[in-house]
């Protein structure tokens, strides 16, 4: 569960979640679970003109399966460490 581990380090950071229905929500990551369900606080939809109904929404829970991408802040990701982690993961999967 590398990705889960990564998300754990990103709690309380601003992330942008792109959903499969093209809705992009920016908010503070509050929690993530093993299904990568995401809870965001203080959310803002990227294209407010198109989704005016989202203006009143302040926080949300996003089911992991509807997420297309998550844009994470670069400064909070240790790229090298992440590379290592993926290598580790790959090595472990091969072993199994």
């Amino acid at each position: 569960m590398l990705i889960f581990s990564v998300f754990k380090t990103l709690t309380d950071q601003r992330v942008t979640v792109e959903l499969k229905n093209d809705l992009s929500i920016t908010g503070t990551l509050k929690s993530v679970d093993q299904f990568l369900n995401i809870r965001l606080d203080g959310i803002k939809v990227l294209d407010e003109q198109r989704y005016p109904h989202m203006m009143a929404v302040r926080n949300c829970f996003i089911r992991g399966s509807v997420v297309r991408y998550v844009q994470i802040p670069k400064e909070h990701v240790d790229v090298q460490l992440l590379e290592d982690a993926t290598r580790r993961e790959a090595a472990n999967t091969v072993k199994r």
């Binding site: 569960m1 380090t9 090298q80 290598r87």
Partner: protein
């Protein structure tokens, strides 16, 4: 509503009147049975099955009244058949009424009758009137009229007791429909007229005795009565024989209860009588007061006077008291036991209405009292406005509160739907998916990231945030961050408990599995479908790999075979050397340089090794820990294979570029280098370093350095710049500098000679990485010599022999003389300017030259006096150029200016000069 006391004709009322039979349409058939004008044709009808009609409809004799719930409280003597019809009662009028209560005479009989009608007409199965109209609304309407019109209200004095639910108790003869039908039962009416309380009580007592004496008889009587006279309300259903049976059954049961009830009722009755008398008195008082009030109001139309207020208060008090009394348990019981709820509801609207009116008046009165009697019209107005405002505010608040309450109620609908154990169960399911054999490994990124962050913040590295149990099973807990507190802490604790439980359960299951052979039960309940449960889609692209193993092993194997082949060749070469053959470069096993793919594969393999090493280093490698030896062995093995993987021990001529240099080519190779250098043994590192310097020209960043000598922004240049920066950072600063810390002067001399031997020192010095490397070497040598000179006593520094210094110096001189003719070429800006064709000259940014200035400064510091002079002479023009440019303000950008001054000073300071000494 009425205006000026005139009754308004409204449709609704007319409709009601019509419905209640007060207004008769011409076209409507009129049935008048039970009245005097009844023609008796119904009796003349010859029909079959009429034999028992009299019994059914109560035409014969005295019938038991056990089903007459309304009359239960009263004596048994009052026969149930009395209320056979209501039409009779209507036509007959109310003689007792007149005789008993004179004030009621004034009341128009239409009111009283309509109120009685409202009780009875729509309920009676015998009524011919259209049904389905709620009698309550009629009464309501009735009272709306009564309350609103002052003229009508005056009647309420008399009308009010009529509607009191107890009116028929205190004056039972007056309004009880059952008792008012004296035309049919003269005996009842005549008796009733003169009866006193004592008489009634006596009757009841007697009946109680009777019932006690002859229950059998009574029961028979009752059964008979039941058969003959079904209660009016039940009549429509009474045709079913089964229903009769049921009724009889109920009757028997009821009768048994009756004895009990009777006793109770007697007590109640006495209580009620006393209450009722009092109430009547009060009611009279109230109505008097009301009248008074109305009069007063007419007198003072501007607002209620003090007297009115007092009256209203008094009235309210009385009203409240009365209401309380009405609600007294005795009254309630009496009321609800014998009568259906609908009837009781009839009285409520009136009461509520009264109450509301009184309360409104009271509120007004209170308000006036609070603010004093208003003096002027304006004040009054102001007060009124204020009051309105306050009321509005209060209403708003109330609305707000109500909405909030509603919301809370709405949300709390599902409160406590799940018990704690349910929640725990779900948590367990969730957490169980996170439990792994090696929580640290699973959560590796998060754990390591935290360690790095903590290290950056200068905090003590915390113990791993993983929950582990003896077998190493556990869950990674994520960021330690702030200490959890309060709810969070308890949540964490709960989760810990949950995980422990999961783990223990799993272990238990394992044990159980161990006991009974697993295979014996497998498939006992049928086979499960293949992989339907797996979410992964079938792979469309299936590439046959030559080996089953994937990437990591792949490169390792390849590498091993490579290495074996190479070793054989090396051995062959050595044998040749032993045999006295000259070292022949051309005879040497030359190989093609590694392809890009090979390089990447090798790098990945090296990464795996590094990671394995990292995993081992997590454990304590000190002696006393169990398994430490094994781990050290393993570590040694890994380091060795890592070193071999770098291919640093291959002869320099193996290929061009050398395999090791190839590995430094891609970005990730450069990134990997410091990590490898960190774990390598010292001698291994020195070899690697030497190899790096020897083959420096083969490095991509050196070979391609000319790309940087241009101002054009091409992708290649950008890439080269990126690579150069990475090389400088990862290889030079992190690794080489680190490695040079342990290098002696003699070794430095050797390295410098290596560079010079290739005859390419000028080429190297014209590249940024080369300059940086030379700078590092010179400054290290400088440091070594100076610590030797000034800090002789220090034990830590190895003693430098004069010989070493001399060798170094001569080597330096050689390098200097080699570089001297090309000193200005060391500056990228100079190279760029020279390359550019005159006209459209762009001035390169100064930061490009920083490395050159730094190197020259280190050269200047190291150089002897004549060398320094040569240096100054060669660079005089360049220095003056910069200084004048800065001082005359030709350089617009202040940053650029500072940079130029700084660069010049770096160099001049090494010669113990300063740019300020230069006169312009």
């Amino acid at each position: 509503m009425s205006f000026f006391g005139f009754e308004q004709n409204d449709l609704e009322r007319e409709k009601q009147q019509f419905i209640s039979g007060q207004v008769k349409e011409d076209g409507l058939a009129e049935y008048t049975w039970g009245e005097d004008s009844y023609d008796g044709l119904g009796d003349a009808l010859q029909e079959g099955g009429d034999d028992l009609n009299d019994e059914t409809f109560g035409g014969v004799g005295e019938v038991g009244k056990d089903f007459d719930f309304t009359r239960q409280v009263l004596s048994d003597n009052v026969p149930a058949e009395l209320r056979r019809t209501t039409a009779v009662q209507q036509s007959n009028g109310f003689p007792q009424e007149r005789s008993l209560s004179p004030p009621q005479k004034q009341a128009p009989s239409s009111y009283t009758s309509s109120s009685l009608q409202s009780l009875w007409d729509s309920k009676s199965p015998f009524s011919v009137l259209p049904r389905g109209f709620a009698s309550t609304s009629r009464v309501d309407d009735h009272h709306v009229r009564a309350a609103a019109s002052p003229d009508l209200l005056s009647h309420s004095q008399s009308a009010y007791p009529t509607f009191s639910p107890f009116a028929d108790m205190a004056a039972p003869v007056t309004h009880s429909p059952a008792l008012s039908q004296e035309s049919i039962f003269p005996r009842a009416s005549s008796q009733m007229e003169g009866r006193t309380l004592q008489e009634i009580e006596a009757e009841m007592r007697a009946s109680a005795v009777r019932s006690r004496e002859a229950p059998q008889l009574r029961q028979q009587q009752l059964l008979q009565a039941q058969a003959r006279t079904p209660p009016p309300r039940l009549h429509p259903h009474a045709q079913s024989p089964r229903f009769h049976q049921l009724q009889q059954h109920i009757l028997i049961q009821q009768q048994q209860q009756q004895k009990q009830q009777q006793q109770q009722l007697q007590d109640l009755q006495e209580q009620l009588r006393a209450e009722e008398l009092e109430r009547q008195l009060r009611a009279q008082q109230i109505s008097q007061l009301q009248q008074q009030q109305l009069l007063l109001r007419r007198q003072s139309p501007s607002g209620p006077t003090l007297a009115e207020i007092q009256a209203a208060q008094h009235l309210a008090q009385l009203q409240q008291e009365q209401r309380r009394r009405q609600r007294s348990p005795a009254a309630d019981q009496r009321y609800h036991v014998p009568q259906p709820l609908q009837e009781s509801a009839q009285f409520l609207p009136q009461n509520i209405q009264m109450q509301q009116r009184l309360l409104a008046e009271l509120a007004q009165a209170e308000f006036i009292r609070e603010y004093g009697t208003p003096q002027t019209q304006e004040e009054q107005e102001a007060l009124r406005a204020e009051a309105v405002r306050k009321i509005m505010e209060a209403e708003r608040m109330e609305e707000k509160r109500r909405r909030k309450a509603a919301k809370i109620a709405h949300m709390s609908r599902y409160n406590d739907l799940m018990t704690q154990s349910d929640k725990d169960f779900i948590t367990r399911i969730q957490v169980s998916q996170l439990v792994t054999q090696d929580p640290y490994l699973e959560d590796w990124y998060c754990q390591t990231w935290n360690q790095i962050i903590r290290a950056k913040q200068g905090l003590q590295p915390e113990e791993q945030r993983v929950l582990t149990f003896d077998s190493g099973v556990g869950v990674g807990l994520g960021i330690p961050g702030q200490r959890p507190s309060g709810r969070k802490l308890s949540a964490v604790q709960r989760m810990e408990a949950q995980v422990e439980r999961i783990v223990n359960n799993a272990r238990q299951r394992e044990k159980e599995k161990g006991l009974q052979s697993l295979s014996s039960l497998q498939g006992a309940l049928g086979k499960t479908a293949g992989r339907s449960y797996k979410a992964a889609p079938r792979q469309l692209l299936q590439v046959d790999s030559p080996r089953p193993a994937a990437n990591g092993d792949h490169s390792e194997d390849e590498y091993k075979t490579d290495f074996e082949v190479h070793a054989a060749k090396e051995a062959a070469k050595l044998r040749k050397g032993v045999l006295g053959e000259m070292h022949d470069e051309h005879n040497f096993v030359r190989r093609d340089p590694l392809t890009h793919l090979e390089v990447l594969a090798i790098i990945e393999h090296l990464y795996d090794l590094v990671l394995q090493l990292g995993a081992i280093e997590r454990y304590d490698l000190s002696e006393d820990v169990e398994g430490a030896n094994e781990r050290r062995e393993q570590r040694k093995r890994l380091v060795d294979s890592l070193y071999e993987g770098l291919r640093a021990n291959l002869p320099i001529e193996t290929s061009n570029p050398h395999p090791f240099i190839s590995l430094l080519g891609p970005m990730k190779g450069k990134v990997l280098f410091p990590r490898v250098a960190h774990v390598l043994e010292e001698d291994q590192l020195l070899i690697v370093l030497t190899l790096l310097i020897t083959c420096l020209t083969q490095l991509d960043v050196v070979a391609g350095a000319h790309l940087l000598d241009s101002m054009e922004d091409t992708p290649e240049r950008r890439d080269m710049e990126r690579q150069t920066n990475a090389f400088q950072h990862y290889v030079l600063i992190v690794s080489v500098l680190h490695a040079l810390q342990k290098v002696t002067l003699r070794e430095l001399t050797g390295i410098l000679r290596l560079l010079r031997d290739q005859g390419q020192i000028v080429t190297i010095a014209r590249t940024k990485p080369g300059l940086d490397l030379l700078f590092l070497l010179l400054s290290r040598a400088d440091l070594l010599i100076h610590t030797h000179t000034y800090d002789l006593g220090a034990d830590s520094t190895p003693q430098l022999s004069m010989e070493d210094v001399e060798v170094w110096q001569s080597e330096f001189d050689l390098m200097f003389s080699a570089l001297h003719p090309h000193l200005t070429e060391l500056f990228p800006s100079e190279r760029i300017l020279r390359a550019q064709s005159g006209g459209s000259a762009q001035i390169p940014p100064e930061h490009m030259d920083t490395a050159a200035w730094q190197f020259l400064a280190s050269v200047g510091a190291m150089a002897s006096l004549p060398q320094q002079q040569m240096l100054v002479t060669a660079l005089r023009e360049k220095v003056l150029d910069l200084v004048i440019g800065v001082k005359k303000g030709w350089v617009a950008d202040s940053e650029e200016r500072d940079m130029k001054t700084k660069n010049v000073n770096t160099f001049l300071h090494a010669l113990k000069l300063d740019s300020s000494q230069i006169a312009v």
